[in-house]
Structure formats: C-alpha cells, structure tokens
C-alpha cells in the first residue's frame, strides 16, 4: 500500500547519501582530470608517459615565485583585514541599532558579483576615477589624470582593497545570521550585558565575552573567504598586476593559451594552487589556535578597558570611509551608465543619455532568462537537499559525521580553478551533452555549501520542545516537518534562497566551462564586455547584476513578514 509518510521517510533517509555523492563525485572527478595532465598524461597530445616536466616548467617560469607570493599575500592580508574590520564593527555597534543599518548599507555589496564589484572599485580608484575627479583640479591641480599606480599596482594593494570591501559584507552577514539565532543571541547579549554591569567597557566586553562563543560560527565563512581570495580570477584580472599576475590568473591563461602543451604546466599549476590554498587554510587554523592559547589568560585578567574610546572613534571613522567608498562607487556606476561625453576632471558627465541602457537591454533578455532559470533550479535543488539532509540528521538523532561536513563545504574550500577544468573533461567522459544541465549541476556544487551553511545552524537549533509537543499530540515526523519546522524556519529558508540565488547569479568560471560557452548569463556577458567595450556598458551590466540578487534579498526580507502577518490574521479569525 502506498503510504506517503513511508515514502517521505525513505527519501529523507537517502538524502544525506545523495547529497554527499552529488558533491564528492564531481569534485574528485575534476581533481583526477587535472592530476593526470599535471603528470604529463594527455593522450590527445600524444603524451602518455608520466613525468614531472609540468612541475619543472612551472618552477622555471619567469616570476613564478612572485606569482605565489602575490597570491598568498593578497589572500591573507585581505582576509585578515575583512575579518578584523568585521569584528571591530560588530564590537563597536554590538548594542547599537547601527549594526543593522550598516549591514543594510553594505548589503548591496554582498550581492554584486565579484567581477562587477571589482569594476566598480576600479572606477573609483583609477587616476580618472571618482575620487580623483572629486579632488581635481581644485585640490590636486591635475588637468589630466595623474599617472599613478592604482589599480594594477605590483604589490596588489588595489586587489586587497577590492577583496576586503567585497568580503566584509559577507562576513558581516554571516555574523549577523549567527546572532539572529534566538537562543545564541539571547545568551550572548545577556552575557554582554552582565559584563557591562561588571564594569567592562562595551568593546572589551565583546572581545572577552561574546567573541569566544561567536567565533566557531565565523570559522567556516572566514576560511571560505580565504580560499576564495587565494584562488579567484575575477578580482585579480580587473584590479591586480599582470607582470606577473597571481597564480590563479596565470593558470587560467595557460589553460587558454594557444600553445596546447602549456596544459601540462597549467595542470601542474592547478595542483600547486590547491596546495597553496590548503596551506593558507592550515596556517589560519594554526594561527587561530595560537591566538586562543595566548589570549586565554588575558580573557580573565580582569582588565575592563583597552583604549575603548579610541577604538570606537576609529571604528566610526572606518565605517564612514567604507560606507562612503561603497556609496561613491555606486554613484560612479550609475553616472557612467547614463554618461555622455565625460572628460577628466569634470565630476559630472557633459550630458546624460539613455543610449547605453537601451542598447544593453536589447541584448539582455536571453542572458537574464538563463540567469534566472539556472539560479532558481540550482537553488531549489540545494534547498530541498539541504532541508532533507538536516531532517534526516534529526530523525537519526545524530549530526553528520565530520567527514560529511567537510565534503559539503569542499567546493567552498577547494579552488574552483583546480577542479573545473577537470570536471569539464569528466563530463565529456560520461558524455553529458546537455549544456544547461551541466551548468545547473556545476552551479549546484557552489550553491549547496552556502545554502547549507546558512540553514544548518537554524535547523539544528530549533527548540526540540515544539517537536516533542507535536509528536506527543500524535503528529507524524512528516507532519512535524511540513507543518512545524518549515513554518518556523521561514525566515532562514528565505535568506538561504536569496543567498543561493546570489551565489548562482555570480558564477563565472562554472558557467563558461561547463556550459561549453553556450549558455550566456548576465555574469558571463558582463565579464566578456568588461574585457573590452566601454565603461558605460560595463556599468549598465554591473548595475543589472546588482539588481537581480538585490531583488531576491528584498523578497527574502518581505515574504516571511507576509507569512507571519497571514498567520496572525488566521489566529484572530
């Protein structure tokens, strides 16, 4: 006999295994697809003997050590900066309504794809950018743009700036998401209040009382930021130096080079990139342990105040600078998208025209449709899989193994450049011809970790008493899942959806490679145009790229309110 409860329970039981297989097979397959060529095994080029010549060619590349140094320093410094600024902001505004306001101001940055954000920042800091225009010629005396080094400076300062500004809102959102969990937040805020009443000044109280309990929730986001910063290609392409570039950019160039034998060197580079990223993650993890050990004593040394006034003022200043940078680049983007002739040092264009929007929109329909279709399917699949996996956890009564957790976050931590090229090869092997399916599948790899990350804690921390009560009233687990858990999780689910969409919207390499270049999304179009064309068209694309995910987040904010309102109405009726 057909019993929906049984079917549901079966699906639930199977989903963790399905989720793991879905994530682990392509990543491992992709890595194998890179490992073989790295040791000179490419039958298509007539290379079938295993050798190390890829690695020796790599080490002999001019500027190889500079590439590695640049990748390491930019990733580490930008992550450290974004993380520290995030902590300072949260510490200084922990009890103030400004924390949420700042998050709302910086929110839009979170949803801009990295490429678009990098373009916006380059508009800001180039010698002919918004900052220079605002101060010229009355202060700087420049009649034509100065020949200064930003962006593309050899030290990677512009790149660090770009990555920091882009990752800060992500970390802030993750911090606030952790603090949105009712029980954790109540505890932490109560403890913070207690510390204040014991005479600790607010910032010190945050670092001594709140941070040690909060950090476990931030570890993964920070590691993801670090991994991303060390291996991404969009930001260094637009803001970084190119003589030499970062390792990841060099690998991409070698993969795409006309000289096909460079594939061997590129694959060897991908392996080095993988080791470099893993190394950075380990260093961060060790650093965390060391800092914990060192600061253990000072947590309880009783000091109430460490120059808190100064820190608070510094944070005010920092916030103002960051927020004005973000606003100024937004204003710059909007102006460029409407600009007619706009000669330096004018701070406003000579005329405003609709031409760039019109010509962009006449070519944008298909990319927008593709972006939405891929985003919605990938996100829906990710949400269902995540919820079922988490439900399976609760029905089994124990959380996922450490191994499984690592696997889920694998695509976030392994540099995509290290396995995507292999994944394309892998998909060719199993003859997966459907480009749209391949793209959705590859997006799923990147969407799942973020969705899981943003849902897992809320799900695991649901107050079990509700479920126990429902069960004691005779509700089946299926009923509890659909009628108790899901409604209670409406807000986190909506946020996870919006995050999943934003992640999918911004994917560049997976769309390009796994779709065989046949699937055009807003992001692939934007990056293709950013490599050429005009600032004006780039600005239009960057703005539309921002608009789509912003819409998703607006809905994520609005829908739960609507649901709650309806519930209340229902109760009154």
């Amino acid at each position: 006999m057909f019993n929906p409860n049984n079917v549901f329970t079966k699906v639930i039981t199977l989903s963790p295994a399905l989720l793991l297989a879905l994530l682990i097979l392509p990543v491992i397959g992709g890595l194998v697809g890179v490992l073989l060529p790295a040791f000179s095994y490419i039958p298509a080029l007539g290379e079938i003997g295993l050798s190390m010549k890829g690695f020796s060619a790599l080490i002999n590349t001019a500027g190889f050590s500079d590439m590695v140094r640049l990748s390491i320093s930019s990733a580490f410094i930008s992550t450290l900066l974004a993380f520290s600024i995030n902590l300072l902001l949260v510490a200084a505004y922990f009890t103030s309504p400004w924390l949420n306001r700042i998050q709302r101001l910086l929110g839009p940055v979170l949803v801009i794809p990295h490429a678009a954000a990098a373009i916006a920042i380059s508009f800001l800091i180039t010698p002919s950018g918004m900052i220079a225009r605002l101060f010229s010629p009355w202060l700087s005396g420049w009649q034509s743009p100065a020949d200064w080094l930003l962006p593309h400076d050899p030290w990677g300062i512009s790149m660090i700036l770009g990555l920091t500004l882009k990752e800060l809102p992500f970390l802030l959102l993750m911090t606030l998401a952790a603090l949105a969990q009712t029980d954790l937040a109540t505890n932490l805020r109560a403890q913070h209040k207690m510390a204040l009443s014991l005479g600790y000044s607010p910032v010190t109280a945050f670092f001594k009382v709140v941070l040690p309990n909060l950090y476990p929730f931030l570890r993964l986001p920070v590691l993801a930021v670090l991994a991303y910063a060390s291996a991404n290609v969009e930001v260094p392409l637009i803001l970084g130096p190119n003589a030499p570039p970062t390792l990841a950019v060099a690998i991409m160039n070698w993969f795409n080079d006309v000289d096909l034998t460079l594939r061997i060197k590129a694959s060897a580079g991908a392996i080095i990139q993988l080791l470099l990223t893993i190394g950075l993650l380990i260093v961060w993890w060790c650093g965390e342990k060391i800092i914990k050990r060192i600061t253990q004593l000072s947590l309880v040394n009783g000091t109430r105040n460490y120059a808190d006034k100064g820190i608070t003022w510094f944070v005010h200043l920092l916030t103002t600078v960051i927020v004005s940078c973000v606003l100024l680049s937004l204003v710059g983007l909007i102006l460029w998208s409407f600009a007619g002739y706009w000669r330096f040092p004018e701070s406003l264009p000579d005329q405003l025209v609709l031409m760039h929007w019109q010509s962009a929109f006449s070519h944008m329909q298909t990319p927008i449709m593709n972006t939405l279709l891929i985003g919605f399917i990938a996100t829906l699949a990710a949400i269902v899989l995540t919820l079922f996996t988490l439900e399976a956890e609760q029905q089994r009564g124990y959380t996922l193994s450490r191994f499984a957790t690592i696997v889920i976050y694998l695509p976030m931590l392994i540099p995509s450049i290290a396995f995507l090229f292999g994944l394309v090869w892998f998909q060719e092997q199993i003859n997966s011809q459907h480009a749209l399916f391949n793209v959705i599948f590859s997006h799923l790899l990147f969407v799942v970790p973020y969705v899981f990350l943003s849902l897992a804690n809320s799900y695991r921390r649901l107050d079990p008493r509700f479920m126990n009560l429902a069960a004691s009233l005779g509700a089946t687990p299926t009923k509890v899942f659909w009628q108790i858990k899901l409604p209670m999780l409406a807000t986190p689910i909506c946020i996870a959806c919006a995050l999943g969409l934003a992640v999918s919207f911004s994917q560049y390499l997976p769309t390009l490679l796994n779709g065989g270049g046949r699937i055009n999304t807003l992001t692939t179009e934007a990056v293709a145009l950013a490599s050429g064309a005009s600032r004006r068209v780039s600005a239009v694309y960057a703005l539309v790229q921002m608009l789509l995910p912003a819409l998703a987040f607006a809905l994520a904010w609005f829908i739960p309110k609507l649901l709650i309102q309806n519930q209340h109405k229902g109760n009154h009726a």
């Binding site: 500027g63 010698p127 020949d147 002739y341 270049g517 005009s534 600032r535 004006r536």
Partner: protein, 415 residues
C-alpha cells in the same frame, strides 16, 4: 547605434533586396558548377550552427546578430553566437573534445580565427580541410590574384578557412593633448619622451600588443635582413634581429603609461584609457571602431585616426570549421553567406562595423561596388589619402619568439 537606425535601415533593406536580385544569376551559375553545393544546402538547412567568436565589441556582436537573422530567413539556420573573451577558449574546447574521444559531435561549428590560433589548430589536425574553395561566393575574392585570402600570416590555408575581413594597424590620438602625433617609430620615441605616460600597448600575447611589436620589429630590421622575418624563426635569426627591438623597447618603456611597469591586457582596455584621457595615443586593428566609439560617447570628440608613414601591418581574418563539428554543412552555408556581397557591403559600412571587405571589387558591377563606398566620413575616422605602405605579417613562428622574449624581459618585473 540606435540613433542611426531609422533612415539607414530602410535604405539598407531596399539595397539588400536589389543585391539579392543582382547576385541571383551568379549564385545559380555557381550551383550548376558544383552539384554537391545543393546537397550542402539540403543538409545544412533547418539546423543550429554554433559560431564561436570574440564577443568584446558590441558593434560586431550586433552585426553577427544580423547575420543570424539573415541565415534564419534563407536557410532556417539557428546561428548561435558564443561570445569568447579570447579565441583560444574555442581552441581549448576542440582539443578537450579530441582528448575525450569526441570525433564527430563537437560543440564548435564555426570559429572566427587567424594567425597563431589557426597555425596551432592546423598543426594539430583540429580543422576540416579543403572546403573553403568550394563555397560559391569564394570566387568573388579573386583568390588567384589575391593571395591575402589563402595565406594566413604567411601560412597556406589549404581550404581550412574562408576569409571574412581585412585589417590594418591604425593609430589614433587625442588632438586636444598634442599638436601633431608621431608618424614613425623614431618619432614615437621622441614624442613619448615629451608626453610621459600617455602611450602604452597591450601586453603580449594580446593580438594588438604582438602586432605593435611586429610593426616595430619590421620597422627596425634593415632591408637586407627583412626576408628572415618571412621564414620560420630560427635561434640564429632571432639572435640576429631581436636585440634591436629590445634596445628600442628599453628606451621606450620608461616613457610609457605606468612607466611600463603595468601593461593592459587588450586593445579595448586601451580604448577605455583613451576615453578616460589617461592616454593620448593608442592603436587598434579595426580602424572603424574609433569613430563608432566616439558616437557611443566612449571616446572624446577630439580623437583623430591616422596611419604610420613608415608602414601599417596588415592581415586577413577568417572563419574555420573544426574537424569534429556537429553541423559542418550549416557552417559552410553561414561561411558562404558571410562572403556574399550584401553581407560584406554591410560589414564595411562604418556605422555597422567598418571591417574592410575581402571581395575583389573589380569583379563586381559598378552598382555593386558602389555599395562599399562610405558616404560622409566621421571626423574621427581614418582618412586613407596619406600613403602608408602595407607591411605583410611575419611568419607566425615569430609570434612565439617575440612573446617569449618579451615575457622574459618585461613580463616578470617585480616592483
């Protein structure tokens, strides 16, 4: 672009109709001569064709969109433009397919290609051979008298690619920033010393960057040794010719934008810097993009184009079909339509794309040839009255030697 549409489109449509009528007889003669062409039309129609072509220029993208409307009307072919940031992406894809044992269901049907990309694909047997000369419209290029349509950077095409357009290295400058631009390599050096940081060229292996280096190499090589550039590069010839180039660059680089520490990645980035007025002098391989960019507000109105008096590097660009393309016949139909008089005439219109035709206009009727003339040149467009000798592309093997040498000397400068 939108501004130009209304009047021109109407005229253009009527003209297209006329051309169709005029070319119809030619077309039927060609089909009689090659009975297989009808088979190609039958087999190629009603199917998609995936055209992998660089997608960095909106103007060209719009022209390709027009092409796809035309082949839909004629053959019910769904032409998809896969926009590449670099042509080598398509080369990589075909190789990946070959390594995965995909010999007849390739995803790339047609590639816009020339130079080193072509040489690599041809060498590795990645292209379908001996088809270009069978296209009915290929005869319009007068291949016997015009070697530029069967030689790609000096390498015989062997029917692996069909010509699409021609380009010459053109310079453009901001007339508000200087009284007169430099007209030769020697003048460029003195000019750059007077205008510090106002000129740069894209970093090799970018096409324009390498082209600038080739122009410099040809210009700096004494007449008696020039023939070496048109033979495969050897270690001997490289050590003989390259040091003069490096000496020239050593002198030039400190005067460049960012003092030569940073080079942009492509020529469109160059155009953006011209738009920002960070640069006052730049170069391009498609002269008509300059006035078009001025009309789109991307460049200031004070921009003027010109050709160097000591010569302009010239080459042809082609379309090729991978050996494993899924829709070989459809791709041939598209390539043939690209060579038609109406497609070539439209392409040469400055407000459409402005790419020089590969057809031999002397083979056309006066009326047909008239379609290729330019009514009112834009002040920023290239005026071709000044004599600038065409410099033929060196043998493609020089590209690798120049790239390698450049990257070793300038590519990995730390600070």
């Amino acid at each position: 672009m939108i501004r130009h549409k209304q009047p021109h489109i109407v005229i253009c449509n009527t003209l297209c109709g006329l051309i169709l009528l005029l070319t119809a007889p030619f077309f039927s003669i060609a089909t009689e001569h090659s009975p297989t062409w009808q088979t190609i039309v039958n087999n190629g129609s009603n199917k998609p064709v995936y055209f992998h072509a660089w997608g960095g220029d909106p103007q060209i993208n719009i022209y390709i969109q027009w092409l796809s409307e035309q082949v839909r009307q004629r053959y019910n072919i769904e032409l998809h433009h896969i926009k590449l940031t670099d042509t080598s992406e398509a080369v990589s894809r075909v190789l990946a397919e070959k390594s995965a044992g995909n010999y007849d269901e390739g995803k790339v049907d047609l590639i816009w290609i020339n130079g080193a990309n072509f040489a690599v694909m041809a060498q590795n047997g990645l292209l379908a051979p001996n088809w270009a000369q069978s296209l009915p419209n290929f005869a319009l290029t007068n291949p016997d008298k015009n070697p530029a349509v069967t030689l790609d950077f000096g390498v015989p095409t062997q029917g692996m690619e069909s010509p699409w357009g021609q380009a010459a290295l053109t310079f453009y400058y901001d007339s508000r920033a200087m009284s007169a631009p430099p007209y030769s390599l020697a003048e460029l050096l003195t000019w750059s010393a007077q205008h510090q940081g106002r000129f740069t060229y894209p970093k090799p292996p970018d096409f324009i960057g390498v082209s600038f280096l080739k122009y410099a190499l040809i210009g700096l090589t004494p007449e008696s040794l020039k023939h070496l550039l048109y033979q495969p590069a050897t270690e001997q010839s490289a050590t003989l010719l390259l040091p003069t180039l490096w000496r020239y660059l050593d002198a030039l680089h400190p005067n460049l934008w960012r003092k030569g520490r940073y080079f942009v990645n492509n020529s469109t980035a160059l155009r953006r810097l011209m738009g920002d007025t960070e640069l006052s002098l730049a170069l391009t391989f498609s002269a008509p993009e300059v006035p078009a960019a001025v009309q789109r507000y991307d460049l200031p109105t004070s921009i003027r184009s010109y050709a160097m008096h000591d010569g302009s590097l010239s080459n042809t660009h082609f379309v090729a079909i991978p050996y494993n393309a899924s829709h070989i016949n459809g791709a041939k139909l598209v390539a043939n339509f690209m060579l038609s008089i109406d497609a070539q005439a439209k392409k040469q219109q400055p407000h459409i794309w402005g790419d020089r035709t590969v057809l031999d206009l002397s083979l056309l009727s006066e009326h047909q040839a008239h379609l290729f003339t330019q009514p009112n040149p834009h002040p920023s467009s290239l005026i071709s009255t000044v004599q600038s000798p065409a410099l033929a592309e060196p043998h493609p093997s020089w590209v690798k030697v120049i790239n390698h040498g450049w990257l070793m000397r300038y590519g990995a400068k730390g600070q």
